[in-house]
């Protein structure tokens, strides 16, 4: 299994909201969903991609000098790219002195990733933390993902999988036995709305959720809370009903934020059509959860005690 490789776009050390304690989150690249609000748009493609942060460009022009595809464009002394010509080869990123051009995603072997993870084991021990797998959809990383998951288990780390649930049932069914905690995203209860907002229906997702809930593995249901997209009363009622069947009355909510917009720019993509909650609006929406017997927990409170 050691020889397996996968595409990782970030190993974030000291993650504080992706499970208990201080954690390293391994972000695997690639996701079958295309959520309109996605805050990590570079996580969607399964291949390495070039990000261009135009605001950091120092205008030195080295990218233009090395680009083999003639894809570098210039405007007002700053350089960007023609997305039709760019092949994400990364030649420019390796010479960019300002860090304006960076490659997102690199092929890593299991052992390479483990070497990074091991560096912080003292912090895991002292904080009750561990390793979280995020994405993209980590389960879609296939055998590489499972090999990495097992390597972490073999080292005795607390392992958490942050999943959107949109992955083949045969693959997903292996997760509960291997993870110490699953963070399961529930984006919308209505199949059509789900398809409109994420590009796919939710049947497979809900089936996987039920299986995970039945398995008895510790699990927290998470809901990205997006104004006007999935925060309607009906959706909250439907979610509450589903969870009630499993004796649950709590859901973690992740209020929409626009922090990912820089990355949309870096990919030359349109910004998501959403605004974050204004003052008081979030509290109002959370009160709606309470009305239907669901306790909405914010990420900073989810792993406190």
């Amino acid at each position: 299994m050691e020889h397996l490789t996968g595409i990782i776009y970030n190993i974030q050390r000291m993650s504080t909201e992706d499970g208990p304690g201080l954690r390293s989150t391994i972000f695997l690249k690639g996701c079958p969903l295309r959520c309109l609000w996605c805050s990590n748009p570079e996580s969607q493609s399964f291949l390495p991609q070039l990000l261009v942060f135009e605001n950091l460009c120092s205008g030195c022009g080295r990218c233009a000098a090395v680009c083999p595809h003639m894809a570098v464009t210039a405007k007002n002394g700053r350089y960007n790219r023609d997305v039709n010509l760019c092949r994400d080869c990364g030649a420019c990123a390796s010479v960019c002195p300002a860090g304006a051009r960076v490659m997102s995603g690199a092929e890593m072997r299991v052992e390479e990733a483990m070497r990074v993870v091991r560096k912080d084991e003292l912090f895991y021990r002292n904080s009750g933390g561990g390793v979280t797998f995020g994405g993209g959809e980590p389960v879609c990383g296939g055998e590489f993902f499972f090999a990495l998951l097992e390597a972490c288990r073999n080292e005795g780390y607390h392992v958490c999988v942050d999943t959107c649930g949109c992955c083949p049932a045969e693959q997903f069914s292996r997760v509960p036995a291997l993870a110490d905690l699953i963070l399961f995203d529930c984006k919308h209860m209505d199949p059509e709305a789900h398809r409109r907002l994420t590009g796919r229906g939710n049947r497979l997702i809900l089936d996987n959720l039920r299986e995970a809930l039945n398995s008895g593995v510790p699990l927290r249901v998470r809901m990205p809370l997006v104004p006007g997209a999935n925060d309607s009363e009906e959706n909250i009622i439907a979610l509450a009903a589903l969870l009630r069947d499993f004796g649950r009355d709590e859901v973690d909510v992740l209020p929409y934020h626009a922090f990912g917009s820089g990355k949309y720019g870096a990919l030359r993509r349109e910004l998501p059509p959403f605004q974050s909650y204004g003052p008081g609006k979030l509290e109002e929406t959370l009160a709606g959860f309470a009305r239907h017997g669901l306790k909405a927990v914010l990420p900073s409170e989810a792993f406190g005690a």
Partner: protein, 834 residues
Amino acid sequence: MSTATALQYAQENIYTHGESRRDTRELPFDGNGKLTADAQARRCGEAALKIKEFLLNAPQKLDTERLAHLLDVYREYGHEPAIVLRARVFERLLRKKTLFLDDNPLVGSVAGCPAGVYVYPEYGTDWVLQELEQPLVSHLGEVTISDEEKELLREAANFFKGRNAEARARQLSEQLLGFNPGKFVQAGLFTETAPYTIGAGTVDYEDFVRRGIRDVVREVEERLKSVPRTAKNSGRIDFYRAVLISLEALADLARRYADLAYTEALRTEDPVRKAELLDMADVCRHVPENPPRNFREALQSWWFIHLGVQIEQSGCGSSPGRLGQYLEPYYRKDKAENGITAKHAEEWFKCLFVKILEYGYYQGQIVSRMNSGHTGHTINLGGLDAAGRDACGELDSVLLDTQIALQTIQPTLTILYHDGLSEDFLLKAVELERTGLGQPQWMNNGIIMERLYARHGRNGITLEDARNCINMSCVGTGVAGKTVFLHENGSFNLAKCLELALHDGRDPLTGHRIGARTGDPRNFTDFERVFRAYSQQVEHLFATIRPFGSLSNKALGDVVPPPFRSALYSACRESGKNIFEGGARYYLYFVISSAGIDVVNSLAAIRHLVFEEKTITMDALLQAVDADFEGYGSVRQMCLKAPKHGNADPGIDALARRVYDTSMDNFRKAEESFFDGHIANIEAYSLSIHNYFGLLTGALPSGRLARTPLTDGSVSATPGTDVKGPLALVNSAAKAIDTVKYGSNHFNMKFHPSALAGIGGARKLLSLIKSYMDQGGSHIQFNVVSSDTLRKAQESPGKYRGLTVRVAGFSAYFTRLHKGVQDEIIRRTELNFR
């Protein structure tokens, strides 16, 4: 309750005396006509806030009154031995200096006016004479001085020219060593210690407060009586005479304040203020002469003793030590007998905090640049007691509450961290951390104890003393009440040693040849040759300046021996020797070394670029460095991209350790000991010395430009170069330095408050601190990033590359966010990210 309402209550109470059915707890007076503890505490809190506001806007004022008294005393008592002469200066000031009262019911100030500072020309006159012609600028802005006062300052400087400590040190050095430090100081290699007054570290406040001055006077009189009258003993006799003069002078100062408070009480129409002033007079008549009768008197006694230390010699680095712990018995007694509460104690501490905030000094531009006005008043919390149990008392928590409420830059709070500290206490400490004040700082109690054993093994340190350890300045450590704090030399610039190694011993900015001839680096065939040249420079330069440091302390002992400060150490009283004669039990005798990380990053760049990757020749690199990278932008980019400290890279971590170990080994090679049996040490920290030396240091292979700041702390990352996240930085910082061998380490870490949100964030911060300490880290403090910092990051993203914003399931570097999103985060940061 405001003063006006208190007054209204007071008047009603007077008019309706004996008839009122009002609940007496709301009245400001008790049955004896004295202010109630509640009323007094409220007034304390209000006064503290008002004074804090005043101080934030008040310019420092040079108080030249001291100079007139100084000249008079030197003219009158010039025939006396130095120690007695110094006692006479102290005595004259305490008996004659202008006194004033402000709203603070805690009484006493160093100078004769609010925000006043003293000048000490008897230490050094060079800076005075040089800077007299230009506006005097301190860290707080321009220091105001009238023409008349300026003339007095000139007269004093001229009087002491040639007979101050600095001049004495240089004379001794010329005679004994043939060494003139001028070029070395100009080149930014080091700073001298003789011209500048420094703080006391910590004296034995606990003992003095408990016994009262009268009892100590009795002890010293007994000692004086029992000294055989022989020529050999004349020094001891002089010392005891000087001590008695100083102690009586302090008792006198308190009585003068009592008289002033009483006089003002007679004048005032306000019955509440009158009662307050009468209480103040009563307190000042009792302490510091006698043992305190309650918590308030203990606090006032403490402040008077501290005031004596600061008036004798104002400078940076005077720690109250474990203030809360030794005041705890008075507080408990007061609580049991008089029902005072934690809230009352907090309001009184606020009064003390603004007293400490007011304290300042001005010693010219070098010191102003090196210290940035830091006065090193560090109150210690936590730690162990003599029996090895958690030493925290209730007042330790109250001190945290005080700082959460008041948020003053001085005093600073230090937590002596160990795993036995209670959860409530730790969480409260994190609450203070969240205010963004940069406090408390955290120190590793276990490491400090080991360090004291290593440093004082030869002095026979006891377990009880090691357990009674404290941070006695900014980060320097010692035994509470027993360690004296002295500089061998002021500070030492490691980056300059590297510059010299790269230029065969010649300083590129001044052209002075101050280093050893270590050869032309263009001929070095491997990295080891480079490292050896650097190491030889460090060895040569320590060997050059350390004997000068010893002579500087000899000169200080000859010219300005401090009788009062010495009297506050029991070992000095027993031996009859002052602190410069080796009279104290333990010494923290040190030089501050800074810019170690700039050396590490520069050596790492040379190793990587010239010898491993071979992407550039040494010649080309040095050309670029000598041109301050002008016209060599691409070379600078290579340098900046080369591996840097702070990213948990084992190769760089090992190099950092080697740089620091080499410094210490070379320091030890110079067999220099000014005090028999006491060894000198290197303290690795920065204050703002990295800014001062930065102005005098050329461009470096790390990519740093000439005359820009060097790296702060001793294991912090150079801003913008730690890109692997906070945990990588913590790991590298813990490994970079032998924190036991070194007198200190110093680690500043930036955090965005998003990482600290909620109780979960608090516990995560605590486990991060523990993990750092578990790896041998000894000091850490946090700058919780403010919205101002974020605005700076918007403007110059290059310096803030490592700054991340943490939100569930998402990660991004702040500088890569869209401007609009950055603005939103700035807004949320201002709301403390809740």
